[in-house]
């Protein structure tokens, strides 16, 4: 109120001065006219009225601008803060001629109120925004995490905290792996995808199946499918979004089915290990002491044990393949020696049936990209088939050569019963067996099925040609190691030597 009183006093003073000046001017004019110019009173009255009107007009015009100046400044400040007229410059209060204190106070009130309005609008806007994110993110019945560009957590929803067993934890700012301890089924991990996405994508998304989440203080890992979304330089800093789809129950059921097969195979393998061990001992100790018939039985027994071992491996591999667990490790292998060792191992089983296997490998074949353990099983399966279906024929020919397309092709040819045309289309199906021969020849129909899976996983093809009564040729291709895509090569395990029955590390290179 002080400012207002001061302003009123200043206003009164200025009004007094204006009115006083006006009165003096009129009195002066009357005195001059009376003394020197006009004698008649009517004329004098008309003269004075005219002078008053002129003087009021001039003084009113001159003082009006001066007296309304404070209001002009206040109005200008209001225009300045109004969004529609925000281009109006702020008033320069140094030029206020009177009532400066009141004008300054009023203008600053205008500014303050404008700030308050701004803040209220902004808060209202944020409230609206929070309402959206809170509702969607927290009510989403799927675990969700949002990460910044350094893979640190910006936001996790309640479902994720619950899922990871950290209901009360403060996760903001932590690295994603300290909250989500994830392991992936193969080398195509989240990290690798992110690296690639960052290099050449603006936005990208990807799905991983069967991701394992290790939950602290729990022996039961969770299994889930993970979906990630990437957005380069997101304005809010939300660079990565992860959503988890729990599949623990489904995948555990698969694992249990798998572990049942693994346990059953284990139970088969233990006596098999012993049988093969004792045969080995007898073979060594009785060498040269048995008559031909007994020596023949010994070979047949050994061949039968080998066959059983190969069968258990097939069972396991079918189970692994069907649970997406058949992961191959393709390495640079010399194909000739690998093929030769598999054929040699099968000579015994061919021999006890009076069949001879001949091997013809072209010189200078390039090294193949192969998983030695798995590809050995392909050769064993194809030879096993050829032996079983050889009938009266006593010859099997294995050939390997380079095709026109630069692939390494291997064929196993028998001269036995052949396969009827009608059965050709189903040969590589699971449990399929040629019905003509079903009663005559044993087998489960797993061998070709798993062979196809293994060859396909090598990037090759498997095929068959047959003519009833003349024999059958199975063939498959492998890709030269040099032509494999980089992703297929298992470079980090180059120090591991794989054989048909296991692996061993090269110790001079091996460091943990």
């Amino acid at each position: 109120m002080d400012h207002l009183q001061k302003f009123a006093a200043q206003f009164r003073t200025r009004m007094f001065l204006i009115l006083f000046t006006n009165s003096m001017f009129i009195l002066g004019a009357w005195w001059i006219a009376d003394s020197f110019l006009i004698a008649e009173p009517e004329l004098m009255l008309a003269f004075l009225i005219s002078v008053s009107i002129i003087s009021i007009a001039i003084l009113g015009w001159l003082s009006a601008k001066y007296l309304i100046q404070p209001i002009t400044y206040i109005w200008q400040s209001i225009l300045h803060v109004s969004p529609e007229t925000a281009n109006t410059p702020a008033p320069n209060l140094k030029h206020v001629l009177f009532g400066r204190e009141l004008v300054t106070a009023l203008v600053s009130h205008v500014y303050q109120m404008a700030n308050v309005v701004d803040a209220v609008e902004k808060t209202a806007g944020e409230k609206h925004h929070d309402l959206h994110t809170d509702f969607v993110a927290n009510s989403l019945p799927l675990p969700l995490a949002v990460l910044d560009k350094d893979m640190n957590i910006l936001f996790v929803n309640n479902a994720l905290l619950k899922y990871t067993g950290r209901a009360d934890a403060d996760t903001a700012g932590q690295n994603v792996y300290s909250v989500l301890d994830m392991s992936f089924t193969n080398e195509h991990t989240f990290d690798r995808w992110l690296e690639k996405a960052r290099a050449d994508k603006i936005t990208s998304s990807h799905l991983w199946e069967r991701v394992r989440l290790n939950v602290p203080e729990s022996n039961h890992p969770r299994l889930f499918d993970l979906v990630a979304y990437y957005n380069k330089n997101n304005p809010e800093g939300f660079e990565i979004m992860l959503v988890l789809f729990d599949r623990t129950r489904q995948y555990s059921q698969d694992d249990q089915a798998m572990s049942f097969v693994a346990l059953a195979v284990h139970e088969l393998r233990t006596p098999l290990t012993l049988l093969r061990g004792y045969i080995d001992v007898f073979e060594e100790e009785l060498d040269g002491k048995l008559d031909d018939e007994m020596a023949g039985f010994m070979r047949k027994m050994k061949a039968a044990a080998q066959q059983l071992a190969a069968f258990t491996t097939n069972v396991l591999n079918v189970s692994r393949f069907e649970n997406d667990q058949l992961v191959l490790s393709l390495q640079e292998e010399k194909w000739g020696p690998l093929l030769e060792s598999a054929v040699n191992d099968m000579q015994l089983r061919a021999g006890v049936r009076g069949v001879k296997v001949t091997l013809k490998v072209d010189d200078a074949l390039p090294a193949v990209g192969a998983d030695a353990v798995s590809v050995y099983e392909v050769i064993v399966n194809l030879l096993d088939n050829a032996i079983k279906y050889s009938g009266k024929s006593k010859e099997i020919i294995v050939r390997s050569y380079l095709t026109k397309d630069g692939l390494i092709e291997t064929t196993v040819q028998d001269f036995g019963t052949g396969i009827p045309e009608s059965a050709m289309g189903n040969l590589f199906d699971k449990f399929y067996r040629d019905y003509h021969n079903r009663d005559k020849v044993g087998g489960t129909g797993m061998g070709l099925y798993i062979s196809k899976a293994i060859v396909t996983a090598h990037g090759g093809n498997i095929w068959v040609r047959s003519k009833e009564g003349q024999g059958t040729t199975f063939g498959f291709t492998l890709v030269p190691y040099a032509k494999l895509a980089d992703g297929q090569k298992k470079g980090d395990n180059a120090d591991v030597t794989r054989t048909a029955h296991g692996w061993i590390k090269n110790h001079s290179m091996y460091r943990r």
Partner: protein
């Protein structure tokens, strides 16, 4: 209790065979001692770990399913640099149990070799052990 089998023609190398199936270890002992190795057989995982830590063996043949402590756990202890620094033994996993992929990868990281027992004969085991550098 661990049993020690000496070789009639020793080559000065010692093997620890962790195997609870007596018939299998019997066959392995026969083949390995014949080839010149001294073989110690232990059926109990926990006791085998203590023996292994003594660092006297050139090769440890480790079955994964043995009593009191699994082979995988033993492998972790033996590869823990704080618990077992400078273990000179080469660890070869011998098993008939097929592993899940993640365990497989774990074994591949920590062990020096891997064998499926049903896939090899005792004489092939000797060849394998001979090939360890």
């Amino acid at each position: 209790m661990a049993q020690v089998f000496t070789s009639p023609n020793p080559i000065g190398k010692k093997i620890l065979c962790v195997e609870d199936e007596h018939f299998i270890s019997e066959l392995y002992v026969r083949a390995l001692t014949k080839a010149g190795y001294e073989v110690t057989v232990e059926v109990d995982g926990g006791l085998a770990l203590e023996l292994a830590k003594s660092n006297q063996f050139d090769v440890i043949l480790l079955d994964l399913m043995v009593p009191t402590m699994t082979g995988i756990e033993m492998l972790r202890h033996l590869r823990d640099p704080q618990e077992t620094p400078q273990l000179r033994s080469k660890i070869i996993i011998t098993t008939n149990l097929e592993q899940r992929d993640d365990i497989r990868a774990d074994i591949e990281n920590r062990a020096d070799g891997y064998l499926v027992k049903a896939e090899i004969t005792p004489r092939e085991l000797v060849e394998f052990v001979n090939s360890i550098k």
